[in-house]
Subunit: 533 residues, 2 copies
């Protein structure tokens, strides 16, 4: 079974998603922790950002489970494969595997690609063979496979056969327009299996074992279609985290894996990985800056929420009769039973991950659990803000509390759009540092930048190490359930110093105050860790 | 085929949904316009609001297509059916049809209902026969059917048989915990069909024709499961609008109907109804006060959105090759996203969508294209900001430019975190409106809110329609390739007025200035459109 993730390539086609290179590295690490077999990182050559990502991934990504894959296209019509700059860029990504996309619907070959049926087949053969000869594992994405198959089954199956004959590891049937239903998938896979067996001179079982599936969600059946293909013998399936993708999206990795592993008993993930489902899903949503879908199957915060009342006690006695799976298996919780124990266990685990031992301090653990619940009810989220969580956890441990490097008295920020069109920001902070009262003013290119600069000026003499801290990313999310500019704002700040980065969080109805909270945590955490290191 | 909608009963179990009686009447009218065959209105007797709804529905609802249904439970254990107050309330709802829920999983009978297998069957028989004798059409919802069938197939199939023998029109197999997959549905329906044929002494075809299906979405397969049951011969299917329901929800009415009618060629709706899909879906979302899911299959505003650029011209020539259905059939539209790669063709197409004809003005088209490219290079994104794009496009058309309702002289925003911990925001704007210079100051709970308020104060006298504009959403994105708080910020503002919403964009290194730009576009667009209408 090959769990192939394309969150970073096809999933990034979803409107409004725009990952930075650092975001992509973080998503790749999360997917690897979830245990997927393949991570498609992007399209080097076509997107300059992806080229940089592949360069950095070579030294910065250390994958435990996944094979790293670069995506590209078959060579251009009428061009020698080694002369095609896009092919070269793909080779230069230096990934162990590549996935090539090819047209497999004859109408697209003729009308969009404007080349002949035969030249398209030659493009497939040449490009696959070239990458195989360069030592790469090769997958071929057959675009518009199912529509093409309906229009001209010989040609479409022929594209898959050409790729496999040229050495591709799998020919992936892509439902690019997303119009399929499970029964149609089952029927088509059955037919293609027979055709390929004849074309390749192998058994139907051997033929289907070289197919892959990639579904879009335009009929709301992408998950079911993917499962149907796997049930029909297809061992390679392509998904995206949370189903992100163009239009209604792709098959959701988490639902597909949950269904295959927990419903059909297929061991698709390495041991210990499926428990990471909720954490990985929500962390990727945070990085993509998309509010997690509370009603998402398996991972949504409402996925196992039961309206309390009449049946609450029955559910408590026999939870197995009211849930389709035990939610703990995927790292979720049954909502009405969100007991202290459940909350405590995960907080203890999380703290231990960060090197804070709460297990031996049950009272501190209770305080941390209550504090986290109270803050989360007000919009905080520690899923992507480990540094803020660690500060909070240590604060409740007498011997573990990190010293706060300064105390705020007040700040003031002014933003002016002047008559001449100039926009200026200025911040003044008044703080106490090691017994000294310091007032500092700085300008910035925005209110948060001005605050950050003023705070650095105020602290510079006492904490010269601050100069090394760089604000690497800054994310703002308006929390739902509140209105327009009067809404609650959550800010995530990522700070980087030599060899380390950390994320902190702030929540307030005022974006400047929320940013301030995250900045204070960022500097506090960094100073404490630099001192300790 | 029986299209049975339970938006108003089971769908109302979704967290945060709370319909008034007037809301329920409006939703029922919309569902009827969509052409469903049955509308389950609620549970009279159990919910006082539902009792009132059924009373008012008798005089105020004039359904063209649908049969009105009340929901209730079989009689209590050990009580005569005519003595059960819940049964009486159901009768008094005076609907032509009733749906009764019964336990069909023996474990639930024994552990939750705390009665015997035989008494539960008697409850089913008695209650069905009673309502039939009162002239009602009766459906029986077999709760936990699939889990029960796996545990004890004889008993579970026996509950369905008992209902049908007592005169029920259909026995509905409910996947209450939502754990099924299409292949499991197909297999179970095949088995139940044979068992019922034997029990009822009819042919398997006649037996399956008396079954119904009701699926929850916990495996993300509710739509596929429903379609699988119908393909296996089940003619009665229960859905909710937009898939609203408990936990991950129910099978989405719109996707199920779209799949059956447009993919499998089954005529499930009366003529002229399927075109209402988008309107009905979005109207129900508004009434439920849930933001429409932009990525929902068939009806989402992104369901047929294509990233423009390289392929725009191909899509223009052959839209049928790039969409799984013609979006117009369900009342949707193909949307072309204006992205970095946009060329003239996609800009022209996009402008046409918005009612701006650039095709006849090649020089204006060039200016718009260049302007979009220049702005996008600086971080603008018009993908989700149609209103800003329209303002920009019209500005380049001499005869089409929308008048700017005011001109900015300057603004100033102050955010203070005071010594007592209070955080306050205050904004002053100086603008010229219709020849008059206006200065206004307002406070807000954040800098952008303060600016918005101050601008509204300044413009209120000249543009009273502003009072109707509500800031519905506010998104902030820090663009990459820039650093931390010194980064370029992109703000998207969604504004809503009666029956319309529009999105605008602003980009600046200063988040306040970026927000200001988006706010100005939002008000300009809204004022211009209100004036034109």
């Amino acid at each position: 079974m090959q769990v192939y993730d394309t969150t970073l390539r096809d999933g990034a086609q979803r409107e409004a998603i725009s990952y930075s290179v650092v975001d992509k590295l973080a998503v790749a690490r999360l997917l690897d922790e979830f245990g997927v077999g393949f991570i498609e990182g992007g399209w080097p050559g076509a997107m300059p950002k992806d080229t940089e990502f592949f360069r950095r991934a070579r030294t910065e990504l250390d994958l435990k489970h996944a094979v790293f894959v670069a995506f590209g296209s078959t060579r251009k019509a009428g061009v020698r494969v080694q002369d095609d700059p896009q092919v070269r860029a793909l080779l230069e990504a230096e990934t162990p595997a590549v996935t090539l996309v090819a047209k497999s619907d004859l109408r697209h070959v003729e009308r969009a690609l404007r080349t002949t049926a035969e030249e398209n087949l030659a493009m497939v053969r040449d490009t696959v063979a070239y990458f195989v000869s360069e030592g790469r594992r090769v997958f071929l994405d057959c675009e518009h496979f199912f529509d093409g198959y309906r229009f001209d089954p010989d040609y479409t199956a022929g594209v898959a056969a050409a790729a496999l004959e040229a050495g591709a590891e799998a020919a992936v049937m892509c439902d690019t327009n997303g119009g399929m239903l499970p029964s149609l998938i089952t029927r088509t896979v059955g037919e293609v299996r027979e055709r390929l067996a004849v074309a390749l001179g192998v058994t139907p079982e051997e033929a289907v074992a070289r197919l892959g599936i990639h579904c879009q969600n335009d009929t709301s059946c992408a998950v079911a279609n993917t499962v149907a293909a796997v049930e029909a013998g297809v061992p390679h399936f392509q998904c995206t985290a949370n189903g992100y993708g163009e239009r209604p999206g792709n098959a959701d990795l988490f639902a597909v894996v949950g269904n295959l592993q927990l419903k059909l008993g297929m061991p698709v993930l390495p041991d210990g990985c499926i428990e990471q489902m909720v954490r990985v899903s929500h962390s990727i949503a945070e990085i993509a800056n998309i509010a997690p879908d509370t009603h998402q199957a398996y991972v949504g915060s409402s996925a196992f929420a039961h309206k309390a009342g009449l049946h609450a006690s029955a559910i408590k006695v026999d939870p197995v009769l009211y849930n389709h799976i035990d939610p703990v298996v995927v790292g979720n919780d049954m909502r009405i039973l969100v007991t202290e124990m459940a909350g405590r266990a995960s907080i203890e685990l999380k703290a231990r991950e960060l090197g804070v031992d709460l297990a031996g301090h049950p009272e501190a653990l209770t305080r941390v659990t209550n504090r986290v619940k109270e803050l989360e009810a007000r919009g905080w989220s520690f899923e992507a803000a480990d540094a803020s969580f660690e500060l909070l956890a240590r604060a409740e441990l007498a011997e573990g509390a990190l010293p706060r490097p300064f105390a705020l008295e007040s700040y003031r920020v002014i933003v002016e759009h002047r008559e001449d069109g100039a926009v200026v920001s200025e911040a003044t902070v008044k703080v106490r540092v090691r017994g000294e009262r310091v007032i500092a003013t700085a300008e910035g290119n925005g209110p948060v930048n001005a605050l950050d600069e003023a705070l650095r000026v105020a602290l510079a003499r006492h904490y010269p190490e601050l100069a090394r801290f760089e604000l690497a990313d800054y994310k703002v999310r308006i929390l739902e359930g509140s209105h327009g500019t009067g809404a609650i704002t959550r800010v995530l700040v990522e700070t980087r110093s030599t060899g380390e980065d950390w994320t902190t969080v702030g929540v307030h109805e005022n974006v400047v105050e929320a940013s301030w909270q995250a900045l204070v945590d960022a500097l506090s955490y960094g100073i404490a860790h630099q001192v300790r290191v």
